[in-house]
Symmetry: C2
Subunit: 191 residues, 2 copies
């Protein structure tokens, strides 16, 4: 196993998702994932702590990306506009991962423990966003509210994007998230 | 134990919260809670499924209350205004429970498992709100976005209300939640 292997984590993630979709998350073992990927268990554990980690390893990258985009927003940008730039960065992150994201979501929806994990990741994302806004000088409660707004818009835009029926026209995530933000602002304005 | 006992669930909840605060949630047993309340374990289990349930038994009532208030909002009320009426009902529910709510929150914040449970309850509340709005004829994604907005405003208003330093003036929850809603609308408007 000393050779260089192209995209080993990606191959393991793809194998895991195939098995979770076919036979269920609970019923899949790390040994089976490694076998499906044509790799060893030892290689699996070099990349992921456990089989749950395969589904959530991207969350850290996602959080870093959105936080950086919000931190880098033009000085004086309104909190909601800084958050919108963060959401654009998220959409770019997901752009070519729709199939993976859609299948991942189906696995998570089928398992209560994974849903809990997903909620924790979103709460952590909201806290990181609020923290970034405070470092930009946004006071409370505006920082927390803008962060919660960002996560709500992300959730709704993301769901529309991965929903095959809804997204029959193949619209991209950036467009759907921006639409969700526009709709959100209309709702808040009482329309 | 056949006698009628005034406010048995309340006595058990108070005893549980005292013990969770004193020695930690993990370190407290149902036997100890019953003893502190001057009741038996059997009585405890007539009111609560387990020691976690003591902290979350109010969530169902809360959800019913907010859902009913939103459902009963005047016909033609904007989604955010219907949600605001739900939030008023929530504030009324909590009005004379600040001390309990504050101590409960401290116990939850200290325990990851309880935090997860709290996040699940809030996600369930958001789903119930969105469902109620859809039954009022609100379309998606406006229904989900207004529901998420309501939960975000509740969280922020509630935190400010139970924060002793913040709430030094003894302001009531209804006032703080309404302020959070006003602030939320300002944030969404880009101010």
């Amino acid at each position: 196993m000393g050779r260089w292997e192209p995209n080993t984590p990606g191959r393991l993630a793809e194998a895991a998702l195939e098995l979770y979709s076919e036979r269920g998350y609970e019923q899949t073992t790390v040994a089976e994932i490694a076998k499906r990927a044509g790799l060893t268990e030892r290689t699996f554990f070099r990349h992921y702590a456990d089989k749950r980690e395969v589904l959530f390893s991207g969350s850290g990258d996602l959080e870093k990306l959105i936080v950086r985009a919000v931190a880098d927003a033009p000085e004086g940008a309104a909190p909601i506009d800084a958050v919108a730039l963060g959401l654009d960065a998220v959409s770019e992150f997901f752009a070519d991962r729709r199939d993976f994201a859609r299948r991942r979501q189906a696995v998570i929806t089928a398992n209560a423990e994974l849903q809990e994990r997903e909620l924790i990741k979103l709460a952590s994302l909201s806290a990181a966003l609020a923290d970034t806004l405070r470092r930009r000088g946004v006071t409370e409660p505006a920082a927390s509210l803008a962060a919660e707004a960002g996560v709500a818009v992300f959730k709704v835009g993301f769901e529309r994007w991965i929903d095959a029926a809804e997204n029959a026209e193949g619209r991209d995530m950036a467009q759907l998230v921006r639409e969700a933000l526009t709709e959100f602002r209309a709702v808040a304005a009482g329309r």
